[in-house]
Amino acid sequence: MTTATAQLPKSTKPVSLVTRWKRSTWIPRVLFPVAVLLFWQVGMQIVRRIWPFAVDVLPTPLEVVDMMWGEVIDPFVEGKQAITRENLYLTFGRSLLRLGSGFAIAMVIGTIIGLGMGLSKAVDAFFHDWVMALLAMPALAWALFTGLIFGMGNRSPIVTVVLTGIPFVIVNVREGVRNTPRDLFDMANAFKVPKNRTTRHVLIPSLMPFFFAAVRYAFSIGWKGLVIAEVFSGQDGAGWTIKFYYDAHRAHGIIGYAFFFVIFALLLEKLVFEKISNRVFKWRPKTTDVELVEALFDGPDDAATATAAAKI
């Protein structure tokens, strides 16, 4: 006699609120910054009691938020809210323009060198050690060096972005070229697919993940380089503004601006990179999708098993 087991229908009992809370990840996520802010606020109260001069040096979260709010609303409310010369938007606009210019140059030159290194062993040997040296070079050194050469203005921050970002572009593009899927090219050759179609549908898409990694690295590393360069040789921009707060001995300004950097980077990641990434890599499977398709595919078999079990 054969026996078969049928799958029991899935439970439809509603999940309790407590279980949902236990399962959710956003509560612990929110809990962390709340705990930090609370610790900061309470800590400051205690420190200021023990050491009254801390008022000038160590700000409370509320003071930082107040300064940040002043910067945010400055252009929209009459009168001067922020103490800086240029408002937040203009400052970040200038920095973004420099970052964009440096980034574009790094991408173009880096891609050309990366392609060369991936395709030719001689080109790889020529550039290899210097790229490694560039990778090891601190952004601070480039910022000081370009500051000395170009002086105040746009050029030093832009060149710093190029020099800090370019090795990451080169390395990623080179790896992309080296990892092109040989078996897919063989398949295309076997089916006599024209060369230009193979380039468009095999080569370029296979390079995209590496190219995208290059973009992300160059942008984030370049951003840090830019800020340092602006500290030394900027007359405006985000780095210069942080230096301004430093010179003015306003710790809440430095911390507030540091938060603006983080928020700016996160916005860029969420609104630009993630959107592009989702669009370009929509073919990448999401685990839930695979399960769904597998379930659909196995569906008739499961149904047959269940029917057989019912008959026994």
Partner: protein, 246 residues
């Protein structure tokens, strides 16, 4: 349908002490809508032969001609792994290998997707499909160019036994429906017996040792006694020819 003529085919890799003979003086003729399996131990040159037939590799000496009524035959390929473009949908993967893309070609691709029971998966990406389904797409892609001859390199070796069995059944039905010449490389003797009219046995060093006709009616059930006997006979030949790995 195609006509394949192989004369004095010789292939070696490397030079001097590193020289390896992959195929040695292979002479062969294959004609009509036959299903020919190439079997043999690892390193017997079966994949090399397929690569030469597919023009992925060139022979060291000898000639190979693959024609259809005097014209160059159109080939189709199914590889060991499905080799699909992960960034293109299933339908686009089929269209990628077509000479031109027209509505009629689209319909043709859809027809072959339906033949492998994936008619509703044209808009899915390969990563959203199981391994068996991906290989089905690979088979549909090869048939969709409507080739005269089909080359298959161990297409079911990566799949689990149940999936492989159902795919073998589908492949057999497609072969019957389309009258192709199929050259099928496998290391699974049972698979070869189940599918083929003719089994070519290769030994290490790329020597064609035997050419076995399998005259059993289709479709062949692996649990059928006659199929089991035929498989046992081929395996016995392996022992006689001293091909069994030690």
């Amino acid at each position: 349908m195609a006509e394949i003529k192989i004369k004095h085919l010789h292939k070696e890799f490397g030079l001097g002490d590193d020289k390896v003979i992959a195929l040695e003086n292979v002479n062969l003729e294959i004609e009509g809508d036959v299903f020919v399996s190439i079997v043999g131990p690892s390193g017997c040159g079966k994949s090399t032969l397929l690569n030469i037939l597919s023009q992925i590799e060139t022979p060291t000496s000898g000639t190979v001609s693959i024609t259809n009524k005097g014209h160059k035959a159109l080939p189709g390929y199914v590889f060991q792994a499905a080799r699909l473009l992960p960034w293109r949908t299933v339908m686009d993967n089929l269209l990628f290998v077509q000479e031109e893309i027209t509505d009629a070609i689209r319909e043709r691709c859809q027809k072959y997707l339906e033949m492998v029971h994936l008619g509703d998966k044209g808009n899915k990406y390969p990563g959203e499909l199981s391994g068996g389904m991906q290989q089905r797409v690979g088979i549909a892609r090869a048939f969709s160019v409507e080739p005269d001859v089909m080359f298959m390199d161990e297409p079911f070796s990566h799949l689990d036994a149940i999936t492989a069995r159902s795919l073998r059944r589908e492949l057999h039905e497609m072969w019957k429906a389309t009258n192709k010449t199929i050259i099928f490389v496998t290391h699974d003797v049972g698979e070869a017996v189940e599918l083929s009219n003719r089994i070519l046995v290769f030994a290490k060093g790329g020597v064609l040792k035997d050419d076995i006709q399998v005259d059993l009616p289709f479709p062949r059930d692996p649990s059928d006694e006659r199929v089991a006997i035929a498989k046992a006979n081929v395996l016995r030949k392996f022992e006689e020819l001293d091909l069994v790995a030690t």
